[in-house]
Symmetry: C2
Subunit: 172 residues, 2 copies
């Protein structure tokens, strides 16, 4: 995938995790400091997420694991835990697929989704028009994009402060 091609700007450089601690240690530390246990399935799933470094479905992740590493249900449960912790981020795409990607540093980036095979790759780039041009130059066809904004609307802010001042954190 493009995002792991060495030195291919402005698509991902593939060395997002080469700072100090290894990404898996970083992730485990986050688990530990949240009072959660470092189990074999959790480590395996985190490693799979780190290896991909791109959004993947639960099924895909489960297949990535050693055939008997853990049950599919465990993958569901672990990803729910990781998401709550902020260790992974869930992305939704045009086709409705909800995919998980590792998120160790809250880096903001975009994705390019293949309309044909659904392959998802990370993009580190400026916005929209220049990006679309760049993608076409790289051989992508029928390039479009999706932009959505998220925020807490005035009504909800009011309700939140009226009842419990710390209510609106990460709602539906």
């Amino acid at each position: 995938m493009i995002a792991s091609t060495p030195s291919s700007h402005p698509l991902g450089s593939g060395k997002e995790f080469s700072r100090s601690a290894s990404p898996i240690d970083l992730a485990c530390a986050r688990l530990k400091s949240a009072g959660l246990r470092i189990t074999q399935p959790r480590v395996a799933i985190l490693e799979a997420l780190i290896r991909r470094n791109a959004p993947a479905s639960i099924e895909q992740l489960h297949r990535d694991l050693a055939s008997d590493a853990c049950d599919l249900v465990t993958v569901y449960r672990c990803l729910a835990v990781f998401e709550e912790l902020g260790l992974v981020r869930r992305c939704f795409f045009h086709n409705g697929a909800g995919l998980y990607e590792i998120n160790l540093d809250d880096s903001h980036h975009y994705h390019i989704v293949c309309k044909s095979c659904g392959k998802v790759e990370r993009i580190d780039a400026a916005l929209t028009d220049p990006t679309e041009r760049m993608l076409r130059e790289r051989g992508y066809d029928q390039v479009t994009h999706l932009v959505e904004f998220f925020g807490v609307c005035p009504d909800c802010r009011k309700k939140a402060t009226e009842s419990s001042p710390a209510a609106v954190i990460s709602a539906p």
Copy 2:
């Protein structure tokens, strides 16, 4: 909702359909020219979509209809037909909800999704930074945005031209 407030730039003006034919007639004409039948459930669903003029779930739309207007299954089937026709567009948001919105003129616009109540409104505006500022000025809190790009990747283009030259049109 904001998008229907008269003359509230740059959020939607609410008069997107005040040209010549009424939106429902326009939609029915599109059905007819596609060789499809104008049935009572279809008209009711289209009217509900037009009334909202914002993304809505299938359940929401079904509830919008007169209690016995049609079966939930029919709403599913009609929306699938409408989508194939391009009469509606399906949007996916951070929470995984797949919502349908009417699309009579292929106008390109964005959405603001409330992180708390999930309410979705249309935005007619330029991109990202100025938009986020504008939303904050209007009282939205914790404003973020999501950008995704879509296109057919080089690999799929190759495969498509090798096998059947007109294959890649609107895949998954």
